[in-house]
Amino acid sequence: MVSRALTRTHEHSSGHSSWRHTLRRVQLYMALFLFLFVILSPFFWIVKSALSRPDQLFKIPPVYIPDATLENFKTLAEQVPLYEYVRNSLIISTATALVSVTLAFMAAYAFARIAIPGRNVLLWLFVLTMALPEIATIVPLYRLLAEANMLDTRTGLIVVMSSVLVPFTVWVLVAFIQQVPFEIEEAAIIDGANLFHILTRIMLPLTSPALATMVVINFINAWNNLLYPLAFSATEQSKTLSVAITEIFQARAPWGRPWNLVSTLGVTMVLPAIILVLFSQKAIVRGLTRGAIK
């Protein structure tokens, strides 16, 4: 490009601008360092607290590099039904992700492909329900779940959590399905494929990256959900890790709050999120931004 070539020659013609270039690099790396420092320091703090002995935790000034031990993980597993909580969190998050993406996939296919009058208005209305605050539905939901005998059950939590995630998932998937050329389905229809075939044999493989992305995003969302299990769970039958950490926080140890255990559980809860982010960063970003940018 001519313009770019012009600026290049301009920059390199004077030694002055190469100095400015270096300055800009330094500024960039300083900003980057500050950014990473602010984002990561809380993680340093809870990881450090999770790995240190309680007697090294409550010191003034703080011990920044403690003798590493896994003692806190052992204590945590002894004091709370950790197995049940992890199991519940995993089952609820996985099921929520699968249920919400399945329902959203079906609906999104209809919204994207079946040309009936008013479908755009319907899609808008449906997606707008995303704006309804969950907290404003919590009391009636509590009573509904009680009537259906679904309080303190994993099924009840899966139903309400899936519901929250469906509108955004539909919104994202509609955009992805619209990108798939219609000719492929057309050919299949002419060959006599039925709806189930089209959805599972044609659409599913073609949109599987998008579906996988939404499964990951919805898993993370469900894993992080606090409000519903806090409101609807009572026993280890359905309590999740997010509720468990609030209970540990409220417990009292002889020396004050059991920060060692709060940190240990915190690290445990953060781990899956970080692993998912590091392995599927690009896909997650594509899914998250699909809703806002067309």
Binding site: I39, P133, I245, M269
Partner: protein, 307 residues
Amino acid sequence: MNLSQTWSARGVRLHISRRAWQYIIFIVLVAPAVLLRFGTAAYPIAQTIRLSFRKFEFYGTVESYAGLENFRYLPDDFGFRGAIEFTVLFVVCSTALQLILGMLIAQLLNAEFKGRALARAVNLIPWAIPTIVAAYAFRWILDDQFGMITHWVSLVTGSRPVIFIDPDGARAAVILVNVWKNAPFMAVVFLAGLQGIPEDLYDAAKVDGANAVQRFFFITLPLIIPLVVTMGTFFVIWQVASLDLIYGLTSGGPGVATQVLALRVFEEGLRYFNYGFASAIGVVLLGLVAVIGLIGILLFRRFEVTY
């Protein structure tokens, strides 16, 4: 779509037109999602509005009609007044800071440097972790005796700040931690927006002698403003009804300094079983969301641009 052949091939000879088939298939596909949303969102919202006109006694077991009593009591409720005040402050300050920082982070992550992909992944981490964990991590970091930041501040000023007993300190902490948690998400979306701006616009501006600040205000910002409005509205609506962070960081305290409407609904409804009063607060919250949403839509129409 023409699926009538498939059906007749199975011997089910129904004379249904192609058009009718389209409707049937559409309904079959959409019904599960719509019914789920109806049962767990639309219907409960209607119920919340109904319950706001009712009174509950004896831990929610005895119910009677109350008219506007719940709403009339709202202005007298100390917790509610505090909640309105801080909800507005919290949402306005948080969103403003998130927009600014989100834009700055997006600019940073859009620059070219080694390890950019990793930095972008790190940026996603605050979004991906449970809010409640972020709340406790910061509460621990700011602990008035053993906290890390407390220690640093004491090294500089010589005294340890006691943040969660001071109303202003608690408010600032809640807002800043919320910004830490959600500004990176804003940045993710802005970054995608920045990547969609054609590079030659910047090249042309450079030739014309525009500096970096001018390029931002005359190219980037006008092109990205619809995104700013959308994200701003979305964040306001979403944060106006959020409670995880405040539940973990301050539980609304000290006093009612960091009380918010969502937390008030939770306390009244699920701790004291004041279903009627909780629903009245919920209705106020709904009204707030509706007004903000409308403003957002109007703003969006004004700023819509094409490029």
